[in-house]
């Protein structure tokens, strides 16, 4: 099968293509040989953060003068497209937790935070997580109840956070806290560090997919946090979050088209070899048509993501479009996961096949980073429907 998305490559410049090739080589040589073992272990070694940083693949999208690799959301998409060839999105999600944990800190603009948190994390020396979701507040971010109370020059933080990616091993967590009762204006980010008294991991959660990435429930029991760990001015978090959500959603959208393309290629390759009723599966029109429809969906999702990504890379603030891209790519990935498993038959249901794994992984996409329903709320509001 020719690549149905080859025509989109002309939109990419040489640096983007080169980065994608690098990320793919990294994924194929460093991740893929271990993918099954790490997925089964529900963990991958911490040293992978350093290895990825050394390969220049961890800090893509972060400014060079802060220890990042430079580049735009388009370059980040290239890393995602390369990394999918590791055959696990769990590893990608785990390595990617800094992609959501650091931007709020960066927005806070403190040099002290850059040297203590941003630089070492981009170098793969420390691991970062972002904690917004709570047992009682997911989609409704303004429902956050974890409290930070001023106590002399410190704050005392109490509450709990749920579903936190890389939370079990994080050296520090960017935590969304309530500093006043104002629903939106009373939210503030704090950096809570491993080892601070009262801060603990209450659970390593078990999941349907993204298994190699650790997901935690975190407990904060009167954790004393110095004022210098506060990010930005009190009450500044909600606005920051609205902006940083855009990059997270675009990253999940990219994970959607990359996963879908990976699944399509795997299903097509299988269908060309596997025989049933005296001919290969692609000899049956039903299968051919299904693959043709899958190819069309993949191309459309990728084209949408490139179109939105290119504008965002140039600095446009596209709230509705990013949400549309995320929803579309998530839907395509979900549908193609079903189709790919169907084409593989029993083999698509077996734990050692990458199709089975990615098919489970993509179920997260319509949920994480804001659900499909919430995206639709945003699209409706922004477009004035």
């Amino acid at each position: 099968m020719k690549r149905p998305t080859a025509f989109l490559d002309v939109q990419l410049d040489a640096t983007e293509l080169a980065l994608r090739q690098n990320a793919r080589r990294f994924a194929e040589t460093v991740i893929a040989p271990n993918a099954h073992e790490w997925e089964e272990a529900e963990y991958f070694p911490d040293s992978l953060f350093r290895t990825a940083a050394k390969a220049g693949l961890l800090g893509v999208g972060f400014p060079e003068h802060l220890g990042g690799q430079g580049g735009t959301v388009m370059h980040q998409m290239m890393v995602t497209e390369g990394f999918i060839h590791g055959g696990t999105t769990g590893v990608m999600a785990g390595l990617g937790s800094l992609g959501i944990a650091l931007p709020p800190i960066l927005a806070g603009g403190s040099d002290d935070h850059v040297s203590r948190f941003i630089r070492p994390t981009l170098a793969g020396e420390t691991i970062a997580a972002l904690a917004i979701t709570e047992p009682g507040a997911g989609s409704d971010v303004a429902g956050v109840r974890t409290r930070a109370v001023k106590d002399g020059t410190d704050y005392r933080i109490s509450g709990s956070k749920l579903f936190i990616t890389s939370g079990c091993r994080a050296d520090f967590v960017t935590v969304l806290c309530r500093t006043s009762d104002d629903p939106h204006g009373g939210l503030t980010f704090f950096v809570v560090e491993k080892g601070m008294a009262g801060f603990s991991v209450s659970k390593h959660l078990q999941k349907t997919g993204w298994r190699a990435s650790d997901t935690a429930e975190l407990a904060f029991d009167e954790v004393r946090v110095p004022e210098r760990n506060r990010v930005g001015a009190p009450g500044s978090a909600f606005l920051t979050l609205m902006k940083t959500f855009q990059a997270e959603r675009l990253a999940l959208a990219a994970m959607g088209h990359a996963s879908a393309e990976f699944l399509l290629e795997a299903a097509a390759a299988y269908a060309r070899e596997r025989k049933a009723f005296g001919k290969v599966l692609t000899g049956h029109q039903v299968i051919r048509h299904r693959l043709a429809e899958m190819a069309t969906q993949v191309a459309a999702a990728k084209a949408m993501n490139y179109a939105v990504g290119r504008r965002v890379a140039l600095g446009d603030y596209l709230v509705a479009e990013v949400s549309m891209a995320k929803n579309f790519a998530s839907d395509v990935a979900t549908r193609i996961a079903y189709d790919a498993v169907q084409i593989l038959g029993g083999m698509g249901y077996m734990r050692e096949s990458a199709v089975e794994r990615i098919a489970r992984d993509v179920r997260l996409l319509p949920i994480g980073g804001g659900t499909t329903e919430i995206m639709n709320e945003i699209i409706g509001k922004t477009l004035g429907i």
Partner: protein, 251 residues
């Protein structure tokens, strides 16, 4: 130390290639290209030798305009200068490539010329050896380790040969070809990729180098190898011996 190193754009060995209907070559549409993995080992070796002993690394490739991208990825890994000798796969063979590179070596006068032991498209495994012969330089092929000796005047090279490792010492200037276990090629970072985009690539023609373009190898036709036949199960050793003797007729 001045080091010349090669890179070649090859069809991604992971993709299934298709032949043109008339058998005249490989169908190029939809094919993805990659740098030859053995060349990446050669580049890694060249760069780390340069980093240890000083000097410069010049990367060279023979190919069409499109090969510039492959050359730039070598520059992004850390090569100092880049040269492309303009040529098309159709008009090249290993011998012509070796002669062109030898000419370049004569004008650049490197201490070492490092190449991949072979390119994973044609798998001919000829260029390094032929070039060394044309230049009259010592050669150490299939290198799995390179140590510079004699204060930069020679190198000790461990070669992977059947049955073990052979160590040879070559005086500079010398030709070395790289095997996979020589090293783990580094990944170019995005800032270096960006810089490489702005690096000028010097383009030379075969005529500039004064190379005669007649080929020694003529390709008549490409054919896919026959599909593998299904295996047979044997009941026991006696059955196996009987089948090897009477059916396969190898005993």
């Amino acid at each position: 130390m001045k080091i010349l190193v090669t890179t070649k754009r090859v069809t991604d060995p992971g993709t299934k290639i298709k032949l043109k209907a008339d058998g005249s070559g490989i169908a190029a549409d939809g094919v993805e290209f990659k740098p030859n993995p053995f060349c990446e080992n050669a580049i890694e070796a060249a760069i780390s030798l340069r980093d240890q002993h000083g000097g410069e690394v010049i990367v060279v490739s023979i190919g069409p305009d499109e090969a510039d991208q492959t050359i730039r990825s070598a520059v992004a890994m850390g090569c100092n200068r880049a040269i492309r000798i303009d040529g098309n796969d159709g008009g090249l063979d290993g011998d012509l490539v070796a002669r062109a590179l030898a000419k370049l070596a004569e004008s650049e006068q490197p201490d070492v010329f490092i190449l991949g032991k072979q390119a994973v498209d044609g798998d001919s495994n000829q260029v390094g050896q032929l070039m060394a012969e044309y230049l009259g330089w010592p050669q150490a092929t299939f290198a799995s380790a390179i140590t510079v000796t004699n204060g930069g005047k020679s190198a000790q090279v461990a070669r992977e040969v059947d049955g073990g490792i052979e160590t040879v010492e070559v005086d500079f200037p010398a030709v070395i070809t790289a095997d996979l276990r020589l090293n783990e090629p580094r990944f170019a970072s995005l800032p270096n990729i960006m810089k490489a985009k702005r690096t000028a690539i010097e383009v030379k023609t075969l005529a500039d180098l004064g190379v005669e373009t007649t080929l020694k190898v003529r390709t008549t036709r490409f054919e896919a190898p026959p599909g593998r036949q299904a295996g047979k199960k044997v009941a026991d050793v006696a059955d196996l011996v009987q089948k090897l003797r009477n059916e396969a007729k190898v005993l």
